[in-house]
């Protein structure tokens, strides 16, 4: 494989390019044998896949769904739903997360939204923890190696916030270290990333989660969770005190 353009050629064949990009891809395709072979393979595959099954929803399922919708209250249930997400158990948070992911556009416009989206994505995928440990001597070096940032990792088990592990996530397109804490049935994620001089929103609710964002030294922090306001405040104070 010598050609460096196969993904660009694929994008061209999938109708993703236009204007000068498409012209450049077409010109490349005229001269590159690898991409010509690729084009033939993609065309063959598309032909074959046209014969594969496209399933249609069974009529019984359609009827069942319509009947189920008939039983839904006429008034919007969105409010009680979000209330549940903000105050209920992890299960309702996950249900909410599934919906949030569908609603939030791919380019979240603010840091807070980006943090909420990352939290929701992790909850939905059941992948909030990549390194599971209540030992900060385990979590800290793992995050240092994988997130390129050595965040202050502390356990607040005696105050009710148990360190459960960590993961690497993405906030507004940049990697962030995440420390995961459990508080009863609830999960709190503490994000940390090197400060980029962004304007930081201080606090609020985003998509049903409580969020607090602050800067400490050259590191930005964001706490996000569905715990109640009092527990959330306590957690933030513990983390901030630990840093000072």
């Amino acid at each position: 494989m010598n050609c460096t353009e196969p993904l660009q050629t694929q994008a061209y064949l999938d109708g993703e390019l236009n204007g000068t990009q498409a012209q450049a891809a077409e010109a490349h395709l005229q001269t590159c044998e690898e991409c010509q072979a690729l084009a033939a393979q993609i065309a063959d595959l598309s032909d074959a896949l046209r014969k594969a099954t496209r399933y249609r929803a069974p009529q019984a399922l359609r009827s069942r769904i319509l009947a189920r919708l008939d039983r839904e209250p006429v008034r919007s249930s969105a409010r009680s739903f979000w209330f549940g997400a903000a105050s209920g158990t992890m299960v309702s948070a996950i249900a909410a997360a599934a919906i949030i992911l569908a609603i939030v556009p791919p380019a979240a416009t603010t840091l807070a939204q980006s943090v909420a989206q990352a939290h929701a994505r992790a909850l939905t995928d059941g992948q909030t923890i990549a390194v599971a440990s209540s030992n900060h001597h385990t979590v800290k070096p793992w995050l240092a190696a994988h997130a390129g940032l050595s965040p202050p990792v502390a356990d607040f088990a005696s105050q009710g916030f148990v360190l459960a592990g960590g993961r690497v996530d993405e906030v507004a397109g940049r990697p962030a270290a995440v420390m995961v804490y459990h508080h009863g049935n609830h999960e709190l994620d503490l994000f940390a990333w090197p400060d980029r001089g962004s304007h930081l929103p201080s606090s609020g609710m985003s998509y049903g989660f409580r969020i607090r964002v602050w800067k400490s030294g050259d590191v930005d922090f964001a706490a996000v969770s569905d715990v109640d306001a009092q527990a959330f405040q306590k957690f933030v104070e513990l983390v901030q005190a630990e840093r000072e």
């Binding site: 694929q10 999938d14 595959l45 594969a52 399933y55 609603i103």
Partner: protein
């Protein structure tokens, strides 16, 4: 019928077949697909007031995928991974020809089913649902670059599976 229900039936319900097809291809089981789609349509309906976009199909398919992920843990616990076949009505006039086509179709379906889920979903969305890279990225929650590389990889893998034979 209230306004939300009317809008839902006009904008989301036309994509029920696409929702079901995606659920079938992801779960590889008619029974699981039924549950996933019913759950997804209900969630979509409840969240519909919050839907402001124009791409209802991508929005709905993202919910289907999330429901499949949530259901995944339960299905794995049951040890359910087999590809269940169903009786399909062949519409060809020639029964022998129809049987040959049916056999080819089944082999193709089985090959697609052997792709790992994260590749299968991207191939299905692109080739069967004709979604753009951007829509696929939105539905699967991965960057467009990842969509492109997974799509290329899934095409290569499917070709390799085809060459291996059943």
């Amino acid at each position: 019928m209230d306004d939300r229900r009317r809008r839902f039936e006009a904008q989301a319900l036309p994509h029920l077949d696409a929702a079901y097809s995606l659920a079938r291809w992801l779960s590889r089981s008619p029974a699981d697909a039924d549950d996933i789609v019913q759950d997804a349509m209900l969630r979509a309906f409840r969240a519909f007031d919050g839907f402001r976009g124009t791409d209802a199909k991508a929005w709905l398919l993202a919910i289907v995928r999330n429901c499949w992920l949530s259901a995944g843990t339960a299905a794995r616990r049951r040890g359910h991974t087999s590809l269940e076949d169903e009786n399909l009505v062949a519409d060809g006039a020639d029964p022998e020809e129809a049987a040959i086509q049916e056999g080819a179709r089944r082999r193709l379906d089985a090959m697609i089913s052997r792709l790992p889920a994260e590749f299968r979903e991207i191939l299905i969305l692109r080739e069967m649902e004709d979604m753009s890279y951007r829509e696929i990225a939105q539905i699967t929650g991965v960057p467009i670059g990842t969509v492109m590389s997974r799509l290329a990889r899934s095409r290569t893998m499917l070709r390799e599976i085809a060459m291996e034979g059943p």
